[in-house]
């Protein structure tokens, strides 16, 4: 990985020096060996502070929104998950491809507490699906990671048990909204929870209001979730949010035959587009 880091630094230094990009979004060091922090390189000299190692857990894609109104091109490091997130943000009308310069990095998975990060365990796209240049050689994809294993397990439980499970999990939620803010599919200009005096989302942190938020968010991203696992990673309460998201992803895939979200920047997505062929079992 130190090769990748060196090449990344060289490339970013040149891109900034040539004026191809105005800023580069990558990772930087912290005082803790096992943590990195999103890092914004503004000048060629900053490139030397970029870091690439197995602790680059943050999905950087959403930081590209910081440049959505800028006239200049922003550079960003994209692994599989970032590249799909960027596609998602473009498809949702939040980013413009021509204003991004994507430096692809094939990824072999990150570490969390010494072992493969949960968010990487079920990854099906370690190689970026879109990029302007690639650092290093493509890596082998994981063969059929059991991405729906936990969903199947949950589906086999009775509805009472499933209800109890989610009530217990959402009882823990502190409504910090880290899941929403980290999620590339949660990209509304204004979240319904922040809308003034609508009364849609009570601020009380109790199981009822927490569930309203948790389930609303899950439904809203059900057909657009790119399965990067950021929401679950950042949740300070350890709520297994990906079990919920993958349930919806699985249903959307089987009901609408859609492909995984973020493989292209095509705007169509199952729940946001009307199709005469859609199932209408209940009408």
């Amino acid at each position: 990985m130190s090769d990748v880091q060196n090449t990344l630094r060289d490339r970013v230094r040149s891109l900034l020096a040539e004026g191809k990009i105005s800023c580069f979004i990558g990772w930087g060091p912290t005082r803790f060996k096992d943590r990195t922090i999103p890092k914004f390189a503004n000048k060629p000299e900053d490139a030397g502070e970029l870091v690439y190692n197995e602790h680059c857990l943050s999905n950087l894609a959403k930081y590209a929104l910081d440049f959505q109104f800028s006239a200049e091109v922003a550079g960003i490091a994209v692994r599989g998950c970032e590249s799909r997130a960027i596609n998602r943000l473009i498809a949702d009308g939040r980013l413009t491809r021509s204003k991004l310069y994507l430096v692809g990095i094939p990824c072999e998975g990150m570490l969390e507490n010494g072992s493969t990060a949960e968010k990487c365990a079920f990854c099906r796209h370690r190689n970026p699906v879109v990029y302007d240049e690639l650092i290093g050689e493509p890596v082998a994809e994981q063969e059929n990671p059991p991405r729906f294993e936990q969903v199947l397990e949950l589906e086999s439980a009775s509805s009472e048990d499933r209800y109890d499970f989610w009530q217990r999990e959402f009882a823990k939620c502190i409504r910090c909204y880290a899941c929403r803010n980290a999620c590339p599919a949660c990209n509304c200009m204004e979240c319904y929870t922040e809308q003034y005096r609508t009364g849609w989302q009570g601020k009380q942190a109790n199981t009822l209001e927490n569930s309203v938020f948790g389930f609303t968010r899950a439904y809203h991203i059900g057909d657009r979730c790119i399965e990067c696992g950021e929401c679950e990673r950042v949740c300070p309460m350890g709520i297994p949010l990906m079990k919920l998201n993958r349930k919806l992803v699985k249903d959307v895939e089987s009901l609408f035959g859609s492909e995984e979200s973020g493989l292209s920047d095509d705007a169509s997505h199952a729940l946001g587009c009307y199709d005469k062929e859609d199932l209408e079992e209940f009408m």
């Binding site: 912290t30 005082r31 803790f32 943590r35 990195t36 922090i37 999103p38 890092k39 914004f40 943050s58 959403k62 930081y63 910081d66 217990r168 999990e169 009882a171 823990k172 502190i174 409504r175 910090c176 909204y177 880290a178 929403r180 803010n181 980290a182 922040e194 003034y196 009570g202 601020k203 009380q204 942190a205 109790n206 990673r233 950042v234 300070p236 309460m237 350890g238």
Partner: protein, 330 residues
């Protein structure tokens, strides 16, 4: 006097006669202070709970009063304060309660809800024999070996804790524990020496002049604007109020709010004086390291490291303290 580890469960059971006993434990994977029940998953060796003990005095959601609207409008106050014993709070936790006391009890206005709960709270603090990599209490003026505002201090020994009574409420605890304590002190363990050390001295000197400093232009950039740091912080105390209505009947509540949320400073008409993460993060750090010091003579950060541990972006207030210290002014 020493409380041996093997007598801990008996001691906690004895204390339940005085009130609700809250101990550090793990519930559904979350480390927090939980009501003690025999056989519960308690862990007094855990360095810091993920959730701070502030909700013991200042719940995340507090019902304040019930009311009915219309011709028969009426109010009914809700008071749910009860005797509580916070057992095993860390020195930083105890110091955080001192900060909250300053906010809610000192000055012209006393917060009745907080005062009620505070009057009924007994703090049994446990000094630290080990520190987490994210602990920097000592740098923030907190002694990991003591807790001056606790009613009773537990100082770790090889086989349990030596008890130091620090108030009348502490005496009541000792009485409740009689028969469970050894007369002699045990061999005390040395207090923890957190490895993370930062220097607040240069910060104190110049931070009040740094509102417009360019340091804020970069510092905030990794911040995703969630409420994690403020909600896991033992001293952050911002709240908002609002009713929950069912027809003509309502309950007024107050709930934690976060200065890191975009709508926190949104005004009527839509203007927001803190439009981006830059202004919000600056406010959070300045409140902790400058404004609070000006008002109360102490920082609003006790160096517990919770926000450092849990920030999704790995922002680190201790690093900010260093950067502010190193920053050139003029």
């Amino acid at each position: 006097m020493e409380l041996k580890k093997e007598n801990l469960e008996k001691a906690l059971t004895a204390l339940t006669r005085l009130g609700k006993v809250l101990v550090p434990g793990v519930v559904d994977g979350v480390k927090k202070f939980v009501p003690y029940a025999a056989g519960a998953d308690i862990d007094l060796d855990m360095v810091n709970t993920t959730l701070p003990p502030k909700d013991v005095l200042f719940p995340q959601t507090q019902k304040m009063y019930r009311f009915t609207t219309g011709p028969d409008a009426a109010f009914e106050e809700i008071s749910d304060a009860e005797e509580q014993i916070l057992f095993g709070a860390r020195p930083c936790d105890a110091q955080s309660i001192d900060c909250l006391d300053k906010v809610f009890l000192s000055g012209e206005y006393t917060d009745a809800y907080y005062a009620d709960k505070r009057g009924k709270l007994t703090i049994v603090a446990a000094a630290c024999a080990k520190a987490a990599p994210t602990c920097f209490c000592r740098s923030m003026g907190v002694d990991p070996g003591g807790a001056p505002n606790a009613d009773l201090l537990l100082a770790p020994t090889a086989g349990g804790w030596n008890l130091h009574c620090q108030s009348d409420k502490g005496k009541a605890v000792l009485e409740a524990l009689s028969g469970l304590l050894e007369d002699a002190d045990g061999q005390a363990l040395p207090p923890a020496q957190p490895e993370l050390v930062v220097d607040m001295a240069p910060v104190a000197e110049k931070i009040s002049t740094m509102f417009e400093h360019p340091i804020w232009d970069e510092l905030h950039r990794p911040c995703i604007g969630c409420g994690t740091c403020t909600f896991v912080c033992p001293t952050c105390y911002c709240f908002e109020m609002g009713p929950e209505m069912h027809g003509a009947e309502g309950t007024e509540m107050r709930y934690w709010d976060s200065c890191m949320f975009s709508e926190y400073t949104r005004m009527a008409g839509g203007h927001n004086p803190r439009p981006s993460a830059k202004e919000r993060l600056r406010n959070r750090y300045l409140h902790k390291l400058s404004y609070f010091v000006e008002r109360y003579g102490q920082t609003l950060c006790v160096g517990c490291g919770r926000c450092v541990e849990k920030c999704p972006a790995n922002l680190d207030i201790s690093r900010a303290i260093e950067m502010i210290g190193e920053a050139k002014t003029e």
